[in-house]
C-alpha cells in the first residue's frame, strides 16, 4: 500500500470550548470527517492530489458551517463575494478566482482556470463567464443566503465594523495597516476552508476557498486567491493552505515563505511552519494558521489562535479531527 496524506482546515480564530455546544461541536467534527473521506476515497484509488483537494474543499463549500461557498458572509453591499485558489506542486500550475458571486463551488472554478486557460487569476464577471463556459454549476445568489449570516450582516450593516468571521464579537477593523495603534480584535475567527494532499505518485496539491469578511469594503481581496500567500504547492518542499487575517498573510507571503525556508535553509516542514506562524507572523501583528504536507507525507497543522477546525487522514483511512488548541 503506497503512502498518501490529506489534511484540511475549516478556519482558525477564537474558537473556545466554552462557547461551543455539544451539538455544534459534533456537527463540525462530522463535516470535517466527511471532507476528509471525500478526498481519501480519491487518493486511495490512486487519484491525484489535485482531485482530492477539490473534493474535500467542495464538501466544506457545500456546508453552511463554514465561510466558503454556501455559508459565505455578506459584504457591506449585502453580497457574497467568494474567492479560491488551487496549485499543483509538480507542474507549479495554479488557478485562482476572486469576487465571484454565483459560482456554486469556487474551488472548481479555480481548478478550471488552472486546467483550461492560459491565465492563473481571474476576477469578478470575467471569472464567472469563464466558469459558465466551462460548465461549472452556477446558482442563484439566493443559494448562498443563510439566515444566520444575513442577521450578522444586518447587525453591523452601515457601520464600519468588519467581522473576520460569522461568530465574532464586534470588531473595529477600520484602522490602517501602518497605524501603530492598530491591534487585532480580541475575539475573532477567520472563515476559510482549505485542503492539502500528497498522492500515491508523490504529487502535492493545495487549495483554499473563502467567503471573505462580514461587511468588508466592496472590492477587498484577501489572501485566499493569492498564490504564494493563501495557497502554494511545490513537490520539492510542501503544499500549504492558509487561514487567517488575510492582509498579514499577503504581506508575509506566508505559504511561499514556508516552502522557501525548507528549500533554502534545509529545515523541516514543522520548523518552517513554526517559524512563520508562531514567530514571523505574530511579530507583524497577524493571526491565523496553516495546514501543510511535505514531500514525505508528513504534515503540520500550525496556528497562533485559540483554535482551528482541522483534520488529517492517511492511507489507513482513520480520520482525525480537532478544533481547539492541544
Amino acid at each position: 500500500m503506497e503512502k498518501f496524506t490529506l489534511v484540511i482546515h475549516g478556519g482558525a480564530g477564537t474558537i473556545l470550548k466554552k462557547n461551543m455546544t455539544p451539538d455544534k461541536e459534533l456537527a463540525y467534527n462530522d463535516k470535517l470527517k466527511d471532507a476528509l473521506l471525500a478526498g481519501y476515497t480519491i487518493l486511495k484509488e490512486g487519484g491525484s492530489s489535485i482531485r482530492a483537494v477539490e473534493a474535500s474543499v467542495r464538501v466544506m463549500e457545500d456546508s453552511p458551517l463554514f465561510n466558503a461557498g454556501k455559508g459565505s458572509v455578506f459584504t457591506n453591499e449585502g453580497k457574497n463575494e467568494m474567492e479560491a485558489s488551487i496549485m499543483e506542486g509538480g507542474s507549479l500550475a495554479a488557478g485562482s478566482v476572486t469576487m465571484v458571486t454565483n459560482v456554486k463551488n469556487p474551488i472548481s472554478a479555480a481548478k478550471a482556470v488552472m486546467e483550461k486557460s492560459s491565465h492563473v487569476m481571474m476576477v469578478a464577471e470575467g471569472a464567472v463567464k469563464f466558469a459558465k463556459e466551462n460548465d461549472l454549476d452556477i446558482v442563484d445568489p439566493q443559494y448562498f443566503y443563510d439566515a444566520k449570516r444575513y442577521q450578522q450582516w444586518q447587525d453591523i450593516k452601515g457601520s464600519t465594523d468588519i467581522r473576520m468571521d460569522h461568530l465574532d464579537e464586534s470588531e473595529d477593523m477600520a484602522k490602517t495597516q501602518i497605524n501603530a495603534e492598530f491591534s487585532e480584535p480580541a475575539d475573532k475567527k477567520f472563515g476559510t476552508v482549505g485542503a492539502v494532499a500528497i498522492d500515491k505518485d508523490g504529487n502535492i496539491a493545495a487549495g483554499t476557498s473563502t467567503g471573505g469578511m462580514t461587511n468588508k469594503m466592496y472590492g477587498r481581496v484577501g489572501d485566499s486567491p493569492i498564490i504564494g500567500s493563501g495557497t502554494y504547492a511545490n513537490n520539492k518542499t510542501c503544499g500549504v493552505s492558509s487561514t487567517g487575517h488575510g492582509e498579514y498573510f499577503i504581506r508575509a507571503v506566508v505559504a511561499h515563505d514556508i516552502s522557501a525556508m525548507m528549500e533554502y535553509k534545509g529545515v523541516s516542514l514543522q520548523e518552517a511552519a513554526d517559524e512563520v506562524i508562531l514567530r514571523k507572523l505574530p511579530a507583524l501583528g497577524g493571526s491565523g494558521g496553516i495546514i501543510s504536507v511535505d514531500s514525505e507525507g508528513d504534515f503540520a497543522l500550525t496556528f497562533n489562535t485559540e483554535g482551528m477546525y482541522r483534520g488529517s487522514i492517511r492511507e489507513d483511512g482513520e480520520p482525525n479531527v480537532a478544533i481547539y488548541k492541544d
Copy 2:
C-alpha cells in the same frame, strides 16, 4: 553625503535595435531619465523611498510610451484595465489595485490603499471608489485612449490572439499553462513599469504598474498587483519589481523568491536574481526580468529576454539608462 539608489524598468521583451529608430530610442531614453530624476530629487532631499518609487512610476504612467497609465493596452472588451502595487520594506506594509479603469495613476491608488486602508488589495469598482474618496485624480477613460494602442487592438479584436505588449507580432496565447505544447511566442514584449529604491534612512520600497495585455480575456489579473510576485520589499534583503509573462511570475512567486534566497541561503542579490530569472523561470517556460535593490544599495537589473527598458541612479545624480542586452 548619504547613500541612496533608485532603479526603474519600463518593460522587457523582444526589444531589438534593428526594430528601433533613433528617434524612438531617444524618446525612450529621455523618458527613462525623466523618471529617474523625478525619484532622485526626492531621495536627494532625504525623502522616503516609497515617495521616490511613486514619483518615478508616475512619470512612466503619464507617458504613452509605456504600457501603464496613459498608454495602457486594450482588453478584448475595448477597455483599459490597469493594475499596480507598492510595498515598503521596513513595515512590510503593502497596497495593490487591479481592474481599475479611470484612475489616472494606479500606483498612487495602490499607495493610498497601503497608507489609508486596513486592506492590501482592492479590485475594480471598489478600488475606484476608494481612490475617489482619497482625492486621487480620476479621468475620463478617453484619457487612456491612444491611437496606436487602439489600432493594435482593432487588428486582433475578435480573435483569441493576446499580445503581451503594444509592439508585438501576433501571438497565440490561447493555450493552457499545463498544455505540453504551450510555447512562448517568439516575439513578445511585456508592458509594465516599475521602480525600486533605498533611501538615505535605509528603507527599501518597490512599486509596479501595468496596463495588462492587448486583447486579454476580461477579468485576467497578472503579477503586477500581486505582492510576492510582481512586487516585494523587505529591508532585511531587497526590493523587487517584475516585468514579464505574469502567469509564470505568479507561479514562481518571483519577487519573494529572490528575497527568500538571500534571507535563507545567504547569497547576494545578483546571485539570487540570476538563479530565479536566468534558471528557475526559464525552466518553467517564463520570460521577463526584474529590477532590484538590496539593503547595501547595490542593485540587479536582470532579464532573460532580448531587452528591458531600464535605468539606475545613485547619490551622484548621474542617470544611467539602457534598452538592449549588454
